[in-house]
């Protein structure tokens, strides 16, 4: 047993200073609580709805869509060009905001080595056509009839944009409205095959 057995009086046995005990307890509590709070705080900084895509830097999944003008387009045919692949829907408000910008960007870029391709998902044909008319869209657009293309590209929000370089690799993904600057910068980067691992994010709407 301990030395203080000899002191005879158990009640006056030596106690460690109270403050020291309190400090030790505080320290242990902090060691448990602080990391947990840190984890919680980290969780709050993240968008819980956001789904990071594993497709960036990968070969773009093959796709064939029938365009609104009746032609059929296959991604393989577009090798050698930068492809600006945009998923949209007529019921999506952010798609309305970006529509004018995309059309303007297309008009300034269309004679170069870039092709814009819009894919309408989860939509009715007449609504989609009205949308294209309203925003005077002139770049090729098609509908994903089966919903398979959307899953192939892991689409979960609209608008969603993939930029594919001339060799067929996805170099960039943007969820939501990209804005002018990003469109031109990322297309320029795709020309050189530069991959941006971090996805861009604008205002988006979950798909249905």
């Amino acid at each position: 047993m301990m030395d203080d057995k000899k002191s005879g009086d158990p009640l006056t046995s030596i106690l460690p200073p109270r403050s020291a005990l309190r400090w030790r307890r505080l320290l242990i509590t902090c060691l448990i609580v602080v990391p947990l709070l840190g984890l919680l705080a980290f969780g709050f900084t993240r968008d819980a709805r956001y789904i990071s895509s594993p497709l960036i830097g990968q070969r773009a999944p093959d796709l064939t869509v029938r365009l609104f003008n009746g032609d059929e387009i296959n991604l393989g045919q577009l090798r050698g060009k930068v492809v600006f692949l945009n998923f949209w829907a007529s019921w999506c408000l952010p798609c309305r905001t970006e529509a004018r910008e995309l059309e303007a960007a297309w008009r300034s870029l269309k004679d170069k080595d870039v092709i814009f391709l819009g894919i309408d998902i989860q939509d009715r044909e007449e609504d989609a056509k009205a949308f294209l008319r309203e925003f005077h869209v002139t770049y090729p657009n098609g509908r994903d009839l089966s919903g398979k293309v959307a899953v192939e590209y892991g689409v979960w929000g609209v608008p969603e944009t993939f930029i594919i370089d001339p060799t067929g690799t996805i170099t960039y993904k943007h969820v939501g409205t990209p804005g002018n600057e990003i469109i031109s910068v990322k297309i320029q980067e795709a020309r050189t095959g530069l991959v941006t691992a971090k996805e861009g994010k604008g205002s988006y709407q979950p798909i249905r």
């Binding site: 203080d4 009086d9 046995s13 709805r49 004018r100 892991g154 002018n180 249905r208």
Partner: protein, 535 residues
């Protein structure tokens, strides 16, 4: 009879087999779907989700099964599209193993801790209870002798020592320690009293009871059980109140979601908005709307925005509030936001006159989308009653149709002009005194702003990575910020050497310079700039 039955049995077997196969396939689809997360609902499995995407995914699972793929292959396919996120149960590999093991480890540790505590409590209690017959003979308890008392005192001091030891070695919490110690002290005082009554002179006592300072004695002799009951009762009351609060308030505040972005509690937790306990009434909505209108008339934009925001918080589908927001945003120079606001109003009520007017004028004046403006305004004219206002709109439409005609004539011409013209060109160099400031990679921005307007985005920006000075440059149509903008009049040219390559931030240490004779005429050459200022 038996022979006639055979074909029927075979047929039935075959049919049953096919049906069973079909059922089997459906079960398999359901099983795989239940292990995948739905990207729309996110908290439901693909099997449970009613969303369009989940239906498509189930269809894909079915067709892949029919192709002869195994469930693992199908799941791997979805993982390759949506990432590990799509699996409801993360794979037990790498860091994910922590998720699988930690709960078991934690509950195991919890069980051990509880068992340990119970055992030590039970042990202490058995030892400390002086009335336990096995510990103290009946007659001793009834008629204490001096010998038995001194024995008990010895026992008490031994106990106290053990207690101290346990505490110092960390096997007892401080609260437990204090409580047990108090008990022992109380008993020590009792034993001492008894000893005193047996032997009037304290000197005759063989072992003196632990000396306790009188003040402390008075405080600590209090029965421990009284305090415990009080604590128990208040704890119980607290739990009861807590439960009632949760049950009543939380269930009141929940409501069905109106859209996917809606929350389950509305804005109950923040005390605003619809659906919560403080559900706002129609009259409140009207008062906010009136406030907003009068603030709008007064041109008090911040207050108007505040009021219309509150209106929209009560009724997110209020076309008038959206329209006013659109007008305010137009005023503030945010045409895109304004257009969205007008579109929202029109998606709720396609014939809302003010929104049609706002959208039409915005397309006409700001966006210069003349045909779009005309369509919108024509729609407005169709629903407007006759009067001076209608005439006004008709006049605008007439203007627009003239403009549209002109644009078609001149459209191709201006296009050609823009393609060939160079905005400005020249050479950029660094002031020799500042050469030392340049270290490491940097990005040179050459920025052209319209001389007539001070705010807003620049007309054109050119970016040159890791420039080698002196740099010769030219700004052309490809550097235009907003595609479709034409250059005319005078522009001012500024150059900036940015250290982090982000044009929107301005760090100290960046070098800037501007053309000495700003503004310049479009098309000018030899616009040479010297970087001579440090930010």
């Amino acid at each position: 009879m038996g022979r006639r039955l055979i074909p029927a049995v075979i047929f039935m077997l075959f049919a049953a087999n096919a049906a069973a196969q079909q059922q089997d396939l459906e079960e398999q689809v359901q099983k795989i779907a239940s292990e995948l997360r739905c990207p729309v609902c996110q908290n439901l499995s693909t099997g449970d989700s009613p969303s369009e995407l989940a239906q498509e995914m189930r269809q894909m699972i079915l067709s892949q099964l029919q192709e002869g793929k195994t469930p693992e292959e199908i799941k791997a396919y979805f993982v390759s599209k949506y990432g590990q996120w799509v699996l409801l149960a993360p794979t037990p590999q790498g860091f994910n193993l922590v998720l699988w093991i930690l709960p078991f480890v934690a509950s195991g540790a919890g069980v051990v801790l509880v068992l340990f505590t119970i055992r030590r409590r039970a042990k202490n209690k058995r030892k400390h209870d002086p009335t336990t017959p096995s510990e103290l003979p009946f007659e001793v308890a009834l008629k204490p002798t001096r010998a038995s008392l001194s024995e008990e005192q010895l026992k008490l001091s031994a106990e106290l020592e053990e207690l101290d030891f346990d505490f110092h070695s960390g096997r007892l919490s401080e609260a437990d320690y204090r409580e047990l110690r108090k008990e022992i002290e109380a008993r020590a005082v009792e034993v001492r009293k008894k000893a005193d009554s047996l032997a009037p002179s304290p000197s005759q006592a063989p072992i003196s009871a632990p000396p306790i300072p009188p003040a402390r004695k008075a405080r600590e002799v209090r029965p421990a059980t009284g305090r415990k009951n009080w604590q128990l009762v208040s704890g119980g009351l607290f739990l009861l109140l807590f439960g009632i609060t949760l049950g009543v308030f939380l269930s009141n505040s929940l409501r069905p979601r109106e859209s996917t972005q809606d929350t389950l509690t509305g804005d109950f937790l923040t005390g605003t908005g619809p659906g919560g306990v403080a559900a706002s009434s129609k009259s409140e909505l009207d008062s906010f709307l009136a406030q907003g209108r009068s603030a709008f008339e007064r041109h008090d934009w911040p207050q108007a925005i505040e009021a219309f925001k509150k209106t929209l918080a009560i009724d997110p589908n209020h076309p008038e509030a959206h329209t006013y927001m659109g007008f305010i945003l137009t005023q503030a120079g945010h045409p895109d936001g304004a257009l969205l606001a007008f579109d929202r109003a029109l998606s709720i009520n396609p014939d809302f006159p003010a929104a049609l007017w706002g959208k039409g004028m915005l397309l006409y004046r700001v966006k210069e989308d003349f045909s779009g403006a005309r369509q919108t305004l024509e729609k407005l004219v169709r629903i407007m009653p006759t009067g001076p206002e209608r005439n006004e709109v008709q006049k605008t439409i007439l203007e627009l149709s003239q403009l549209a005609g002109k644009e078609q004539e001149s459209g191709s011409k201006t296009e050609a002009n823009r393609q060939s013209s160079v905005l400005v060109g020249g050479v950029i160099s660094i002031d020799p005194k500042l050469k030392t400031q340049v270290d490491g990679p940097a990005v040179l921005f050459i920025i052209a702003r319209s001389a007539s307007s001070s705010g807003g985005p620049p007309l054109a920006v050119r970016r040159i990575d890791q420039p080698k000075f002196p740099v010769s440059y030219s700004l052309g149509p490809e550097n235009v910020m907003i595609p479709g903008t034409t250059f005319s009049g005078k522009v001012s040219i500024v150059a900036r050497l940015d250290k982090d390559g982000n044009p929107t931030t301005r760090e100290p240490g960046n070098l800037t310079g501007e053309y000495k004779k700003n503004p310049v005429e479009v098309g000018a050459e030899k616009i040479d700039i010297v970087l001579d200022q440090v930010m």
